[in-house]
């Protein structure tokens, strides 16, 4: 594992993280070292989508952790054209999980040196977070009836039966889907209409129970589609038709030139780099969830939040190893063999398995009111690296028998006070919650008069 830090040595606990992530689906488990395995329902209703894009070529991987009856499962995704069988692939869940682990918000630990002795450092860099889900509307398909709906293609790939539909009008499509056994929510027609008007087709997938049984998986594998389109967008409106509340979506974009942002929603970065109380280590998941929600509320629930933006050839600190070229290829990165990067690509600082792949991790919590349109993206030339990273600073715990030690103790008290304030600002937690969470680590302010006559 290659990691780098200017201040000292690393000790990494990452194999644990990776192991937790690679295991079979544990429903909504929060995939991270610092989080209890059982109770963590971190981001409910979450979906994970990887978008690989260069020019007009796009590969989309939709990972879902559907937990209902397999007969009820259906995925409806608007696509720009009729896809041939070669454009559709059923991939492995582990590659999305690798992306998640690599780009997850992280916690870093620093240990203060003995103030009475020569400086000593030890650094630790772990912690990940995960979220997943299914992509679009839930329906089920049967045989076709006219109604202006044409079945353009029909494939069985992996454990999925796939139809590519085109439709003349939304009510016809809604009726067709309903008559074919899909349980269509009442607003589906209104959500389908704009796609039909834009002459888009519909990718409809359901589980083929026989193939699924033969394949022997106890979860649904992600569907991948490859297509060419001028539109760099993600259709989220369809998924809102039958949603009860806000839905979480984590989008990983893998591009060649730089960071990806939304052009029709404000894209902001999560607060990062702050020193926070040590107690956060006990529940990093809960902390990060609060940070996300606080930032989301601060942005009027209308923003796309950037959690990570990094050239994939390295990381610092690494929450997980960068993905290998083979893993990137599995996600659909198609330009790895193309030779040198196009103009403007900065050489990575560590040329390990240097890959001209820039990963952006965007987290969206959307609902119909605040996200009236689909997400449109643009690839910027921005290659500045960004990560959501939070710092724990352990005070020195030996005996402090020098004058410098006394000063140091005061500095630590002051530091704890500031860390508690930072925690309040990041999470919006009230002071009593913070006191409860920080416990013995809470700053113990001296009465003002104690300072008055002390030297």
């Amino acid at each position: 594992m290659h990691s780098r830090d200017t201040s000292g040595q690393f000790r990494l606990l990452l194999p644990l993280v990776t192991a937790a992530c690679l295991g079979p689906l544990s429903a909504h488990a929060f995939c991270g070292f610092y989080v209890g395995k059982s109770d963590a329902k971190l981001f409910n209703e979450a979906s994970q989508v990887a978008l690989v894009r260069d020019g007009e070529r796009t590969v989309m991987t939709m990972s879902n952790d559907y937990k209902g009856a397999l007969t009820d499962f259906a995925l409806v995704v608007p696509v720009p054209s009729v896809l041939s069988k070669e454009q559709i692939h059923v991939g492995e869940r582990k590659y999305i999980e690798r992306l998640d682990a690599y780009s997850a918000p992280r916690l870093v630990e620093y240990f203060d040196p003995d103030p009475c002795a020569v400086a000593r450092y030890r650094v630790l860099a772990p912690a990940t977070e995960s979220s997943r889900g299914m992509m679009a509307a839930k329906d089920e398909a049967k045989r076709g009836i006219a109604l202006g709906v044409t079945v353009e293609a029909r494939y069985t790939i992996g454990e999925y039966d796939i139809l590519i539909l085109s439709a003349k009008e939304s009510s016809g499509l809604e009726t067709w889907l309903r008559e074919s056994g899909y349980r269509i929510p009442p607003k589906a027609s209104a959500a389908l209409a704009p796609y039909i008007r834009q002459d888009m087709k519909f990718f409809v997938a359901k589980v083929n129970l026989t193939s699924h049984k033969e394949a022997g998986f106890n979860y649904l594998r992600p569907i991948q589609i490859a297509y060419e389109s001028k539109k760099f967008m993600l259709p989220i409106r369809l998924g809102m038709a039958n949603a009860t509340g806000p839905q979480d979506l984590v989008v990983y974009t893998l591009t060649r030139r730089g960071r990806v942002e939304s052009t029709n929603y404000r894209t902001t970065k999560l607060p990062t780099g702050m020193d926070i109380p040590l107690a956060v280590k006990e529940d990093f998941g809960g902390f990060f969830k609060a940070v996300f929600e606080h930032a989301y509320e601060n942005e009027d629930r209308r923003a796309v939040l950037t959690e990570y933006a990094w050239n994939m050839s390295w990381c610092d600190p690494c929450a997980a190893d960068p993905l290998s070229p083979a893993e990137l290829r599995q996600l659909g990165v198609f330009w790895l063999d193309d030779g040198p990067a196009p103009m403007g690509i900065r050489r990575p600082m560590i040329p390990s398995n240097s890959s001209p792949v820039f990963l952006t991790r965007l987290h969206v919590r959307y609902d119909p009111e605040h996200f009236p349109e689909d997400l449109v993206f643009q690839e910027t030339g921005d290659q500045e690296n960004f990560q959501a990273r939070y710092v724990l600073r352990h005070p020195f715990e030996g005996s402090l028998s020098c004058a410098a030690g006394e000063r140091y103790r005061e500095q630590v008290e002051e530091r704890r006070r500031i860390e508690a304030q930072t925690l309040a600002q990041l999470t919006g937690w009230q002071s009593d919650v913070i006191r409860r969470r920080t416990g013995t680590d809470a700053p113990t302010p001296k009465p003002w008069y104690q300072r008055l006559w002390s030297k």
Partner: protein
């Protein structure tokens, strides 16, 4: 030009424009957290003022003051993003020098901010615009402010702005209706600060717009139509910038087809980037009561809808 005419007057409408753009920029650097470092606007302003000073001497033209380059600088700072240090000053240098170098029959062809942005994006793929960096609350306040100012002050009242905005609104509304989308989609599409800057500070630049009223209507509609086609037909980005860049060179042709009196700054005292002012001078664009009434209505509509809008 006598020196006193180049001096800054307290009545100069550009001061208000600078105040508007300046407060937007301050908000962007502070509460809105634009992807912008403080040194970038400073470098842009320094380059633009330096270019203005240098080009005025080099071309041996009468000094036109430093308000216009300041407005161009603020516009560039608000719109241009880059992670390379030389891009912002490069854009500022192109913007200001183009006013002196690319001219036809006494008018400069391109709006400086527009050309600066386009040049930066053309020379490097490390320059970009972030059209949704503003957030809807900030944009709502900005729309509110700009329409208020337009009703209150002639400096923000240009018939080109109204023609363009009208055409843009109609096209966008037409698309929303055609696609069967709901009206919040339209509002969402108008919620971008770039549109405000473009409408009131870029396309309305009277030194680069046609002389006749009909010409200006054609010009504004052509920019709106072409930008709409680029955006929704070809799925391009920053289409307002590219459309204005493409239509600007046609202005001499429009002027030749539709004769009108050349716009002059009132008292010849204002320089290029100043917006149209009504009621004085011979070549003015008559805005008229109708225009003010329309602006008043929009202002009233926004005021009425304020309580229902998402404000922080």
């Amino acid at each position: 030009m006598p020196a006193r005419l180049a001096a800054v007057s307290i009545r100069d409408p550009r001061l208000l424009q600078i105040a508007f753009l300046g407060s937007f920029l301050c908000a962007g650097l502070t509460v809105l957290h634009f992807d912008l470092q403080l040194w970038q606007p400073l470098l842009i302003v320094a380059t633009a003022l330096g270019m203005q000073w240098g080009m005025t001497r080099l071309m041996k033209v009468p000094p036109a003051g430093y308000l216009s380059p300041l407005i161009s600088s603020f516009g560039l700072s608000l719109l241009l993003r880059s992670d390379l240090w030389w891009i912002p000053p490069f854009a500022a240098a192109v913007a200001i020098s183009s006013k002196f170098l690319i001219r036809f029959r006494g008018k400069h062809i391109f709006n400086p901010t527009n050309l600066g942005l386009a040049a930066a994006m053309l020379v490097s793929d490390r320059a970009w615009c972030s059209p949704s960096q503003w957030g809807e609350s900030a944009v709502l306040i900005a729309w509110f402010a700009i329409f208020g100012l337009a009703v209150a002050h002639r400096a923000f009242r240009s018939d080109v702005s109204i023609y363009f905005f009208g055409a843009w609104l109609l096209l966008k509304l037409g698309r929303v209706v055609y696609l069967g989308q709901r009206l919040p989609v339209l509002w969402h599409q108008l919620s971008t600060g770039s549109l405000i800057l473009f409408t009131f500070f870029m396309i309305s630049d009277p030194k680069t717009t046609p002389d006749s009223r009909l010409g200006r209507a054609i010009y504004a509609s052509a920019v709106a139509g072409f930008a709409f086609y680029l955006q929704h037909g070809l799925w391009r980005y920053n289409t307002l910038i590219w459309a204005l860049l493409a239509v600007s060179p046609l202005v001499p042709l429009i002027d030749w087809l539709f004769k009108g009196e050349r716009y002059r700054w009132p008292g010849q005292s204002f320089s290029q980037a100043t917006l149209f002012t009504s009621g004085r001078g011979s070549g003015e664009m008559k805005f008229g009561r109708f225009g003010i009434a329309v602006l008043g209505r929009i202002f009233a509509f926004i005021t009425a809808s304020l309580p229902t809008m998402p404000l922080r």
